[in-house]
């Protein structure tokens, strides 16, 4: 993992900045030669986390491959808002085939590149959580199992947003969607075990699996670059808030992506060959309410007729993640768990920030 000495950070958000860094240390997005793979003018909503995540991920992949990249896209918001005929926001070779086959189309492209001896050209498959976890899951698993040389990126906004915010296999418990309305004794989505795509990807023992959010974009860029160092199937799961589907303010997209990690609800980690090799520690732990209250999809849990019992159950999920992945810096709660920092910056704050900037170890 590239170590970057922290020099500047933003008060409040703890976001590390890099505009005053030497050019070679800057993020891909902060460089003048960034490729703008998903260029401006597309029709994503204000504050769309998916557009942000895709731009950063693909620009980083373009940089890592010297611009020799082909993308296969699943049907969904990302496809619809980027390619209203006859316009396209894509500045790389890009194909949209169907909702459930992006991993297999990517396999086909990778096979074509292999047979033609073009191992310099790399392939990215991408889609939303519905296209990845639900309808495209068999193709994804097949691609993993065969060992095809594809980086698959799932932009997870926890529902079918393109079709009008219906529940997907990635919709969290209690969340309101058009098909899980806050009516009845158990308002919102059911409490199930969910479908943890990163863990399922790891169970395939593929070379690289990582999660990221659009609040820590340097970490996202790093993980894409790291993924491109491997051959074979790789999986990146990016948490991307959806203001439209979640009923959140457009200006809260980054805040929500940060809070989901800081609550422990979305563990940010990376795994090599099926083993977790690093986790991003929580910098400032917050209760799940802080995350939930910013979203109208959870509004039924609060207020006079609120459901503190349900909030408690969600908190329990966060607590379990914190324990399971060792998300706290406190050695008492995270001892013997993977991802402990191996270096010791001078002060606790610097240590926290170094973790944030470096991403997981």
């Amino acid at each position: 993992m590239p170590y970057q000495q922290i020099k500047f950070y933003q008060a409040g958000s703890f976001v590390a900045g890099n505009r005053l860094l030497p050019p070679e240390e800057r993020s891909v997005q902060a460089r003048v030669e960034r490729s703008n793979t998903l260029t401006s003018g597309h029709r994503a909503c204000q504050g769309c986390g998916e557009a942000l995540g895709a731009r950063y991920a693909l620009d980083a992949a373009m940089r890592a491959t010297g611009g020799k990249l082909i993308a296969a896209n699943a049907t969904g918001c990302l496809e619809v808002f980027s390619t209203p005929y006859p316009e396209s926001s894509w500045q790389l070779p890009w194909i949209h085939s169907l909702f459930g086959n992006a991993p297999a189309v990517a396999t086909g492209i990778a096979a074509a590149m292999k047979v033609k001896g073009r191992d310099d050209v790399r392939v990215v498959g991408q889609g939303g959580d519905g296209g990845t976890l639900d309808i495209g899951f068999a193709c994804l698993s097949g691609m993993f199992e065969r060992g095809d040389d594809v980086l698959y990126i799932c932009y997870d906004n926890e529902g079918y947003m393109n079709t009008g915010v219906q529940r997907s296999g990635a919709t969290p418990p209690a969340a309101r969607t058009a098909t899980t309305k806050p009516v009845g004794d158990e308002p919102g989505n059911v409490f199930g075990q969910g479908k943890n795509a990163p863990l399922i990807a790891m169970a395939h023992e593929i070379p690289y699996v990582a999660t990221a959010t659009v609040s820590e974009l340097r970490d996202l860029e790093y993980k894409v670059e790291r993924a491109m160092e491997f051959r074979g199937p790789r999986y990146l799961h990016v948490f991307v808030p959806c203001p439209l589907g979640w009923g959140s303010a457009s200006h809260d997209t980054i805040r929500l992506a940060r809070l989901v990690k800081e609550t422990g609800l979305f563990p940010v980690f990376e795994a090599v060959d099926g083993e977790v090799v690093g986790v991003s520690k929580i910098r400032r732990r917050v209760p799940v309410e802080e995350y939930l209250k910013l979203q109208r999809r959870f509004a039924h849990l609060f207020g006079p007729k609120g459901r503190p019992d349900v909030v408690e159950r969600i908190q329990a999920i966060a607590d379990r993640n914190i324990k399971r992945y060792g998300l706290l810096l406190d050695s008492e709660t995270s001892a013997d768990l993977p991802g402990e920092a191996t270096d010791s910056p001078d002060t606790p704050l610097l240590r926290v920030l170094a973790e944030a900037e470096r991403g997981p170890q």
Partner: protein, 417 residues
């Protein structure tokens, strides 16, 4: 070179000679022997360079072919029956994107009830998917059609389905002439895609099209497919020049010149029909056979012309559109609309029921006398059908849910009036 070969092996040989670069397939009977053989050829290096991708479903098979073709490689896959249905969404996508994918359909029935034997229900269900459909009459023709199919697909930039009767052709041994590599290379140039995913020249493929242009795009797909009506005979002629034999084309007549009765069919059953035609001709019956080799695009004018002199046409088809009747028959009636020619539609050979010469003799005798109903079923066990119909009428079976619900709704509606 003349060899005694199983139909599947002959097809696998033909495919290998066409130098596919990506083969992606999922096993389903009776297609398996083709892809097993191709897997061997890739593993031993006989077919190289080629990537053999063992996919997890037919949907993935077609999707891998889509990706490979869009990236400029020549893909091949094979399927049958349920597998063809499982890739249906991707079939429309491949044709809509104009990708020249060649696929074998080893024709097999569709369930439920599950049945692995031959009929044309599978490929007929996808006749409107935008794919060109060729139907082979013999193992030799299956071999030849695949070689022609790659050329046809790539010249038009459209996908082509080569349909061959499952088991009857895929598993039967016959003498086939397997061409040499030089011959095939002389016939089939390397694949040059019309549009390709290339970082040096980035293109967006698969954009969304709204009402402002959707009809036009669909019409253009039709216009492109219709070009095959000119191209298929040209390719068959080029094929004959290099390989020295007639194969493919749009239609193929057998003793139809002066025939009052013409039997029209697709695929391997044509051989049996021709035998019976010969027998009847010896007895002085004016009868012939017309094979439809290309079903999509539909050679309407050619069918019309070929049947112009007939008094009646017996359409013998191995498919059945539930709720209507014959499928090929509808298409033949379309070609003959406005003419006084009588069309008898005969559904035969469903789910692998043998179509015997004996049955055909009886059928044709009735047809010649105009004693056939417009829609009949060859060798149907009507007693069995009647017994079952009677049994269900007496309420001994619970019947499908939909009808039970409808009965309830009917009662409610009756009460309210």
């Amino acid at each position: 070179m003349l060899e005694q070969k199983e139909g599947s092996q002959a097809v696998a040989d033909a495919i290998a000679l066409c130098r596919p670069e990506v083969i992606c397939a999922y096993p389903i009977s009776p297609q398996t022997h083709i892809v097993e053989s191709l897997s061997d050829k890739v593993r031993t290096g006989e077919l190289s360079p080629c990537e053999y991708v063992s996919v997890e479903s037919e949907f993935a098979a077609m999707s891998v072919a889509i990706g490979a073709s869009a990236a400029g490689a020549r893909p091949y896959t094979a399927t049958a029956s349920q597998g063809l249905l499982f890739m249906a969404e991707a079939l429309y996508n491949a044709s809509g994107l104009g990708l020249p994918i060649v696929m074998t359909v080893a024709n097999r029935a569709i369930g439920s009830p599950i049945n692995i034997w031959n009929d044309h229900s599978d490929s007929m269900s996808q006749r409107d998917s935008g794919w060109i459909q060729l139907y082979a009459e013999s193992g030799q023709e299956a071999l030849d059609l695949h070689i022609q199919a790659f050329m046809l697909a790539e010249r038009l930039s459209l996908p082509v389905m080569v349909c061959m009767d499952g088991f009857i052709l895929t598993h039967a041994y016959e003498r086939v002439d397997v061409p040499g590599q030089e011959q095939v290379d002389a016939f089939l140039p390397p694949f040059e895609p019309r549009q390709v995913l290339d970082p040096a020249e980035p293109v967006t493929i698969g954009a969304m099209v709204g009402p402002e242009a959707f009809s036009e795009v669909k019409y253009l797909m039709h216009a492109k497919q219709m070009q095959a009506l000119d191209l298929i005979p040209e390719i068959a002629a080029e094929f004959k020049e290099i390989f020295g034999r007639e194969s493919g084309g749009l239609i193929s007549g057998y003793r139809i010149e002066d025939a009052e009765t013409v039997v029209l069919a697709l695929g391997s059953v044509l051989g049996t029909i021709q035998d019976v035609v010969d027998e009847l001709r010896e007895k002085g019956v004016s009868i012939g056979a017309l094979g439809v080799k290309t079903f999509r695009p539909y050679p309407l004018e050619e069918v019309r012309k070929a049947l112009a002199g007939a008094q009646r046409v017996v359409v013998l088809e191995k498919a059945f559109a539930i709720g209507v009747g014959g499928i090929v028959g509808q298409n033949v009636r379309l070609a003959l609309s406005g003419t006084p020619i009588r069309v008898y539609d005969v559904v035969a050979g469903l789910g692998g029921r043998p179509i015997t010469k004996r049955s055909l003799r009886g059928l044709f005798a009735e047809a010649v006398d105009d004693r056939l109903e417009p829609q009949t079923f060859l060798d149907m066990d009507w007693d069995l059908v009647r017994r079952e119909l009677e049994r269900t009428q007496h309420g001994l079976a619970t019947g499908p849910h939909a009808e039970s619900i409808l009965r309830d709704v009917g009662t409610v509606a009756a009460r309210s009036h």
